[in-house]
Every structure is written in C-alpha cells, then in structure tokens.
C-alpha cells in the first residue's frame, strides 16, 4: 500500500529575503534595535564586530639576509609563544635576520589601526602574522 503523501509542507528556508551584508555580527549578532531590547551588561569587550580590512601585499624580498622581520602575534591563544620560538629558530639558523616579536595591541578580531603597522612599514622589511586559532 502506498504511503500517504503530505502536501503543502512549508520550507524553513522558503521566502527568506537575502541582501548585501552590512557587517558580520561579532559574537552574537547586531544588538537589538533601540527600544526593542536592552543590551547586556556583560559579553565580550566593546569593539567586536567590525569587518576585517582587505589584505594588501608588500613586494617580496629577494633574500632575508640582513633584513628585519616582524613576527606579529595577533592575539589568539599560543600565538605569542609560537612567535618566540620562531624568533629562536631565526637566531639559531639565520642569525643575520633580525626578528622583532610584537603583540598586536588591539582586539584579536579587529584591524585596530595601531601604530604597529606604521612601525613595521618604517623599520621592518617583512612581517609574519599569526597564529590564527
């Protein structure tokens, strides 16, 4: 015996409206509109939620010999320790390379437009950013 078919089943995705993104929700989405809810007193520190800026690349170096390489910890767990060990590797294996380990001062999820990028442009020849996740 044929099983009964169920008709007029509505799709959970049916009719949803899509559009260009504004900004990605940081940790939990945009806050409720004014008057439609009250923001929490807790949650992550302010500033989460801005979109990352588009990448732009420097020209590559011919060699790292006698160059200054910034090793930038972006703030994810273990990143600083990794950069320190990377620095140790350069010291032991490529001593002509000067490495500078720095922690990105702003929030891990944001391009904080800090002076660090200016410092790297002025004093550095290359940069390694990490570690994500």
């Amino acid at each position: 015996m044929a099983k009964q078919l169920i008709d007029k089943v509505m799709s959970p995705e049916g009719g949803v409206q899509t559009g260009p993104a504004g900004f990605p929700p940081g940790m939990g989405g945009p806050p409720p509109e004014k008057g439609k809810g009250r923001p929490g007193g807790g949650g992550p520190p302010p500033g989460l939620g801005a979109p990352p800026s588009a990448p732009s690349f420097a020209n590559r170096l011919d060699t790292l010999k006698n160059k200054i390489v910034y090793l930038v910890d972006i703030g994810f767990g273990g990143g600083y320790e990794f950069m320190q060990q990377l620095q140790k590797w350069f010291t032991e294996n490529m001593p002509s390379v000067t490495t500078v380990v720095k922690r990105k001062p702003g929030n891990v999820f944001m391009d904080d437009k800090s002076d660090l990028w200016d410092e790297i442009k002025e004093k550095g020849n290359a940069a390694v950013l990490g570690v994500a996740g």
Binding site: G37, G40, G41, G43, F76, L86, G106
Partner: protein, 425 residues
C-alpha cells in the same frame, strides 16, 4: 616593507601556512617541532614555507576566488515537494534543518495555526542574520519563524516567546571553535499562562513549554545555516545544552528578591525573555554544608576568570531566602556587591586564561582600567576580577527540595519584550 604590490592585491591569494595542529597550550618543544615539521597543506616544512612566502612572489597558488557577488538571490520555494512523512523527516535532517530529533512537519495548516498565536503580520521581519558562507544578510519574517516553531513542537501560545527570542538576533549556536553554552530565561505573566516550569526540574526535560521554546531557538540557528560543520560552525566539541538552551522560567512567586527582568529595568507585569551565553556552567552536587555560600561561590567562580566581570548564578528559592533572612542580604544587589569584593584570584591565573588573554588583554594595552593596572601586577598578586557587581546575574529557579545552585561564567546578552508579539484578545 618595501611597498605595496602594484597589481591588485585582492587578486592574489593570501599566503597561509599551517602548523601540524593548534598551538595554544603547547610546550616550547612542541612549537619547535611544529616549526620544522611539514605544513599539512603543502607538505613542506613550515619554516621553509614562511621563508618562501617572504621571498617569492605571492599569488603563485591558484587565487582564492572572491566572495560570491551578492545578487538578488532567488528565494527558495515556500513549499516542498509532497512526500511521505519518513522521507520528509529524512529530507529535513539532510538539509541540516533539525537537531537530529524528529520534527513536526510544518504543513501550511499547522503554520497557519501557529500564526494565530501572534498579532504580528506574517510578513513582518523579526530578525536578520549574517551568513558567513554566502556573506549575506538574511531577513526572517514572522512566517519563517512560525515554520520553525511548528517544527520544534510549539503550541501557538508559545509563539510570542519564540518570536521574542528571534527578535534578539542572537544565534543559539556560535561558529566559534570553542563550545558556547546558552540559557533562555522567561519572566513575567506569560510564564504561568503557557505552563512554563520554574520549579522542580525546571532545567530537566519534563516540561513541554521549556523544552519546545528552547529547542525552537536552536532550530532557528540550524535553519538559518549557522551550524554547518566546517562551513559556518567549528566548535570542536560542541555543547549539548544547546539542544534546548537551558530554557526555563524564573520562580518569581517563591523568590524573595525582585525578578530578573525588573533588575534590568522592565516592569514586573511585562513578559520578557532574556538570553545568556558563556562557556562554563557548574551544577553543584549539593549545598555547601560547612561553608557559607559566599565561600562556596568564591571557590567555584575563582576557577572561571570572567569576561567583563560577568557571572550568572542560578539559585533555588531556598538559597535566596536563606541569604535574605539569615545572612542579611536584603537585595540581590547587596549579595553581588559582596561577591564582587570577596572573590579574588591571582593576576597570573587571570591573564594566562586563553579567552582573557585573547579578548581582554587588548583593553589593558589601550589603558582601560582596571585591566591596565592588573596587567602590571606580578602573577601572584590578587585581583578581584568580578569588579562590576552589576554584571553578576542572580536568577531564582527551583522547587525548594534542596538548596542547590548553579554557577556560570555566562554573560547577560540581552532581553526582548514578549507582549508585543502576543495575539490580540
């Protein structure tokens, strides 16, 4: 740096290098090994990859395709093809629309009945969410949420609460590699009108309204595409309290203190849903027999270095009554002020906690107090990390069979009114 590449930087692929595994918590010996071990993506040593990307042209790999252009997407069909119950259940599961448990198939008739639970127009937009996989904002109408409410097993009278949850725009499931947990609290008259449980076993799977309303929030996240493994969802272990998000009502009748929503500025006769989120929820094995509650909470909360001083304590009415009648805390604010002063942990313990280092250290570097001062302290100096008592949430839930309590690092993520979504009488 020697200048920005002349060619369009967006056309080149960002050179990523991968270590063998995650670096957090690894010893220096392991990190040293990672540096000389092969990148699992390229098969060549990590250090060689680093040197190569600094000294060889970027973009030699196949360029990463740009994000898809946002075009006016063709809205998915309102109706699915007719099929059998079994096939539809399987389809819903395979589409990622369910939590793995069977759902109520949302026929037009059932959705129509659900819509009778609100005075809002079916086309009213309730929520927007950002889709990381398509980089789009997606708007969800009352009708979309009604479909999900039916799937969760809701009665029409639950629908205003579900719409209020949707209106917070908070996802139940977070894409984070960590394992966020959540809690939904309902205050005000609607709790009793729809038969929510705030007493014995309020957090147990024994009450239809609690179970279904909490589940509906998770189904929203699933149907909105926020939990596609490896695409929009990366929680390494997940968190099974997101099956129904600890949905419960506050036991306002038995509480000796003002209800939570009143603390947050709403009127007592308003019906309000509140959302909490965090990582650690500690359910005690029993009451402290030879310590005060403050001492007990000091022990428990000290192992959860807080973000923004946030904590949530869910206590049985017996606990609240004892604190008021025998310990002298006339208000819950009196109690949270004391907790704020008393709970102390070493600065080193605080800063060496991953999420604190990741998300709070930047505040210290910017000079924001008290983080800037705490950052300068030696590891063994004691700090009071719950420095803002207003961020310690006290909620009263339970059936007065034992003076139990739960402590959590959960933050208050916001509230939304329910009454505006109710059906007109």
């Amino acid at each position: 740096m020697e200048g920005v590449a002349k060619d369009n930087p967006r056309s080149a692929s960002l050179p990523f290098i991968f270590t063998q595994s995650t670096v957090v918590g690894m010893s220096t010996e392991v990190l040293d090994k990672y540096i000389v071990s092969n990148d699992p993506d390229t098969g060549k040593p990590v250090i060689e990859g680093i040197i190569d990307v600094l000294t060889k042209p970027v973009g030699t790999k196949k360029p990463t395709p740009p994000p898809p252009k946002v075009v006016k997407a063709k809205a998915p069909s309102i109706f699915l093809e007719p099929d059998t119950e079994d096939n539809l259940q399987q389809l819903f599961y395979e589409k990622g629309w369910t939590d793995g448990l069977p759902v109520i198939i949302p026929t037009e008739e059932r959705v129509k009945k659900m819509l009778a639970g609100t005075s809002a127009s079916p086309d009213d937009v309730v929520a927007e969410s950002f889709k990381f996989d398509t980089m789009e904002m997606v708007k969800y109408t009352v009708s979309n949420i009604a479909v999900i409410a039916v799937m969760a097993g809701a009665k029409p009278e639950y629908f205003p609460v579900i719409l209020a949850i949707a209106s917070t725009r908070q996802p139940a499931l977070m894409g984070s590699t960590t394992a966020f947990g959540t809690m939904v609290l309902v205050n005000g008259p609607i709790r009793n009108e729809i038969g929510m449980n705030s007493g014995i076993g309020a957090f147990s799977p024994i009450n239809m309204a609690n179970s279904v309303i909490g589940r509906a929030w998770t189904l929203m996240s699933l149907c909105q595409g926020q939990a596609k493994p490896d695409i929009t969802f990366w929680s390494s272990q997940g968190n099974n309290n997101t099956y129904n998000n600890m949905c419960a009502a506050e036991n306002e009748e038995k509480s000796v203190w003002e209800p939570f929503h009143v603390t947050r500025g709403y009127k007592a006769d308003e019906s309000i849903v509140s959302i909490f989120r965090g990582w650690a929820m500690l359910s005690t094995s029993g009451a402290a027999s030879h310590r005060s509650l403050v001492e007990e909470l000091n022990i428990q909360l000290a192992v959860m270095p807080p973000m923004n001083s946030s904590a949530t304590i869910v206590m049985d009415p017996l606990v609240a009554r004892n604190l008021k009648e025998n310990e002298g805390f006339s208000t819950k604010q009196d109690f949270t002020k004391l907790l704020s002063k008393k709970i102390r942990i070493p600065a080193g313990q605080y800063w060496k906690t991953d999420q604190i280092d990741m998300l709070v250290a930047s505040e210290a570097y910017k000079g924001v107090e008290p983080y800037a001062s705490w950052k300068k302290l030696p590891d063994d100096a004691l700090i009071a990390p719950y420095n803002n008592p207003e961020n310690i949430n006290i909620i009263v839930v339970g059936g007065e069979t034992s003076p139990l309590f739960k402590s959590a690092d959960y933050s208050y993520a916001g509230s939304a009114p329910i009454d505006k979504w109710r059906a007109k009488k």
